[in-house]
């Protein structure tokens, strides 16, 4: 597939869709397209893993099919299911008519009785498609086995109907928060991309792109503070999403320059645990005001 001409073109087209990538992201997306392989995206929560898939879909003007994984998701929820109730109705409706069992069987195991789930939908789609399998680490181990055929050959086997082969290779993203180790077999079939917290320049650019009204000076202070905070040992380090929330909060409060008082009062937007708030306040020497507690 040649959906992108070069990595720089990926950067450019993602940027139009308001996603600021960098060279390594662009190279991986570009290679995934050329090699026709799925991309496994890992990284801390809130670094734009899901957003990347959505942005690629926007850039390609493709249909986004999303499978949100959770504990206990299975074939029937992810791939396809036979519509029992409709089949039973059909069998009852047939009563009285002269039909052989073979005829009934071919009837009830046909297209009409098939409930299409996201994975099958992505395989059978005719237009450009991006398939997002979100939070794959939440699933049980067995579910990964189900994905292997799909990810390496882009086909699905339905015993009653035969093998469905993809008409066009969809762009596949799998995201993981790394709460468990994925199987080697699955990893081998994917290209790997680790999305870490962005560096200073890129995060600043992201903040300015998403909150354009923000003064540049303030954006600079925000990202520097956030970087200092991330270097600490915390229960939950602030993600890009939280940086953006903080930027918006400050904007709404009419703050134009960060000072200790502002930082102290708004730190809770950035940090989700009281112990973290205290630790950060201690490090930045802005001990929480006793009045606030």
């Amino acid at each position: 597939m040649n959906r992108f001409a070069s990595p720089p073109e990926v950067v450019e087209r993602l940027r139009v869709g308001d996603y600021l990538s960098d060279e390594s992201i662009a190279t991986v997306v570009f290679l995934a397209d050329r090699l026709g392989k799925p991309v496994l995206v890992e990284g801390p929560a809130g670094t734009g893993k899901t957003e990347l898939a959505k942005s690629v879909a926007r850039a390609l003007d493709a249909h986004l099919i999303r499978l949100q994984c959770y504990e206990g998701v299975d074939e029937a929820k992810a791939l396809y299911e036979w519509n029992y109730k409709k089949q039973l109705l059909r069998i009852q409706a047939e009563q009285g008519h002269e039909q052989t069992w073979e005829q009934v069987e071919t009837n009830i195991f046909s297209e009409d009785f098939l409930l299409e789930r996201p994975l099958l939908a992505a395989i059978r789609a005719s237009g450009p498609t991006v398939l997002l399998i979100d939070e794959i680490d939440k699933t049980d181990f067995e579910f990964e086995g189900l994905l292997l055929e799909l990810l390496s050959d882009f086909q699905v086997t339905i015993p009653e109907m035969g093998t469905v082969v993809a008409q066009q290779i969809p762009f596949v993203f799998l995201t993981s928060n790394n709460t468990r180790e994925l199987s080697e077999a699955l990893k081998r079939r994917c290209l790997y991309l680790y999305l870490d917290y962005p560096d200073l320049e890129r995060e600043k650019a992201i903040v300015l792109a998403r909150v354009p009204e923000l003064p540049e000076m303030l954006a600079d202070q925000i990202v520097r503070l956030v970087r200092s905070i991330r270097a600490m040992e915390l229960k939950k380090a602030p993600s890009i999403a939280e940086t953006l929330d903080w930027a918006r909060t400050l904007l709404h409060l009419g703050v134009t320059e960060m000072d200790e008082d502002t930082a102290r009062r708004t730190l809770t937007v950035l940090l989700k645990y009281q112990t973290d708030v205290e630790k950060v306040a201690g490090h930045l020497k802005i001990a929480p005001n006793p009045r606030d507690n």
Partner: protein, 450 residues
């Protein structure tokens, strides 16, 4: 090129990064699509096809620099030649100071190269001339440099305390970056000199989970602390999953019939009664005297990282007497709790040398009553008792009251029973004495016991 790539693959595998043959082929296919002269794209293409775990990335980057490192730029070669003549150290330090203040990344990289060329070389009589980090840092004292930066900062009275702290963090990051550049440059020059293979063997540090507790350096301890939270979380997920799968109980007729209504009365899906899972109680007894404290601390952190998998965890620490520290872990931050515990627990009674006998007896007298048939006891320590009385009968009595008693020993098996170690005296009564030298072994053990 192909040969180089294969060598690189071998080096990765030796460093513990699993690269499958199919991944190697993918890497080659990927290289066909990126411009040959674009080094960053080249690196990204190799990384995405060969490294599927972020923990392996440092090893990959180190080795990549060795095997595909940039050829020295013309300026760098010049400066190496000019290094035959004396480089003015004063002038160099001044340059470095200015550059750290301005924070120009490429300027700092050049300076790092110059530093290695100028100060890092040792001329060997055999004609070789290897380079050494320590020589560079003897000439370029980074701690002094940091102090100078701080002084400069203190003079800026227009900055608020908050700004000051931000700048301090910034400078620390820049100095750290410079140090890494020097390390990389030294490795690169050595690789040029001796071939990448020889250097690769020594320059890749083990992954955090393979680090030995007892021998970890200060930087590595920091790494371990960062690794411990995700590892604990992973293990907790795995244990919870296993428990969930194990709890399919007897057929629940009522639920099955109710559910069959949606399929016209035909019971397609059978439903089962859930059994309430049994969660073990855990008692941890940790020796936190100097020699093994790192091990005990990490075990405490690790176990408290998945407390939810136990009905109760009680922790005790001892040196020559014992104290309960469970309450330190009640507030959620288990990593910080260990620091507080170390400072506040009352564990030294006499002289601060390990005394297993007294500590065990005290545990038995004071807390033995709370042990029940569901309790597992873990004793952590090297069993080096400084030739005091062992009181091994306590372990025997613990074994009778509790479900299981395990002893985790951070020393390699071959050191057991040497010197003042009385490992086997205790091991006789416990369900097992297990060697646990790194996080991986610890994780395995805990996974098996729970």
């Amino acid at each position: 090129m192909l040969a180089r790539l294969l060598d690189f693959t071998h080096a990765l595998r030796r460093a513990g990064v699993p690269v499958a043959a199919s991944e190697n082929i993918d890497a080659l296919r990927a290289l066909g699509h990126v411009p040959f002269d674009d080094r960053d794209a080249f690196r990204a293409a190799l990384a995405t096809t060969m490294v599927k775990n972020e923990a392996h990335r440092t090893a990959f980057d180190t080795l990549f620099e060795l095997y595909f490192g940039a050829a020295p730029t013309p300026e760098a070669t010049d400066s190496r030649d000019s290094s035959e003549g004396p480089v003015d150290q004063e002038q160099y330090l001044e340059d470095l100071f200015r550059m750290l203040l301005s924070g120009d990344a490429s300027g700092l990289r050049d300076l790092a190269r110059r530093a290695v060329a100028a100060f890092g070389r040792v001329d060997m009589p055999q004609g070789g001339s290897p380079y050494f980090q320590y020589r560079v840092f003897r000439a370029v004292d980074l701690d002094a440099m940091m102090r100078r930066l701080m002084e400069e900062l203190a003079q800026r009275s227009d900055l608020s305390a908050l700004e000051q702290q931000l700048w301090r963090d910034e400078f620390e990051a820049r100095v750290r970056g410079f140090r890494e550049e020097v390390d990389a440059e030294v490795r690169r020059r050595l690789a040029e000199h001796r071939g990448p293979e020889a250097v690769a063997r020594h320059s890749v540090r083990p992954l955090p989970e393979d680090l030995e507790f007892v021998r970890a350096t200060r930087d590595e301890i920091a790494q371990l602390r960062r690794a411990i939270r995700p590892l604990a979380r992973k293990l907790a997920t795995r244990l919870a999953m296993r428990r969930k799968h194990a709890r399919r109980g007897r057929l629940d007729v009522r639920k099955t019939v109710r559910h069959s209504l949606s399929t016209g009365g035909v019971p397609f899906d059978t439903r089962y009664r859930h059994r309430t899972p049994h969660k073990p109680e855990l008692f941890l007894l940790c020796d936190i005297s100097g020699s093994v404290s790192a091990f005990a601390r990490f075990t405490l952190m690790f176990v408290h990282g998945f407390q939810s998998q136990f009905s109760r965890v009680r922790s005790f620490v001892f040196v020559d007497t014992l104290d309960e520290v469970t309450h330190f872990f009640e507030n959620e931050d288990f990593v910080a709790a260990v620091d507080r515990m170390q400072a506040e627990a009352n564990v030294v009674w006499l002289d601060g040398h390990s005394d297993y006998g007294t500590s065990l007896r005290r545990f038995w007298e004071q807390y033995g009553g709370s042990l029940g048939p569901r309790a597992s006891v873990l004793i952590l320590g090297d069993a080096r008792n400084n030739y005091r009385s062992s009181e091994a009968w306590v372990v025997k009595s613990l074994k009778q009251k509790a479900r299981r008693v395990f002893w985790l020993n951070p020393e390699p098996v071959r050191y057991w029973d040497t010197g003042d170690s009385i490992a086997s005296e205790y091991a006789r009564y416990a369900d097992g004495m297990i060697e646990v030298r790194n996080l991986r072994q610890l994780e395995e053990f805990i996974g098996r016991v729970v």
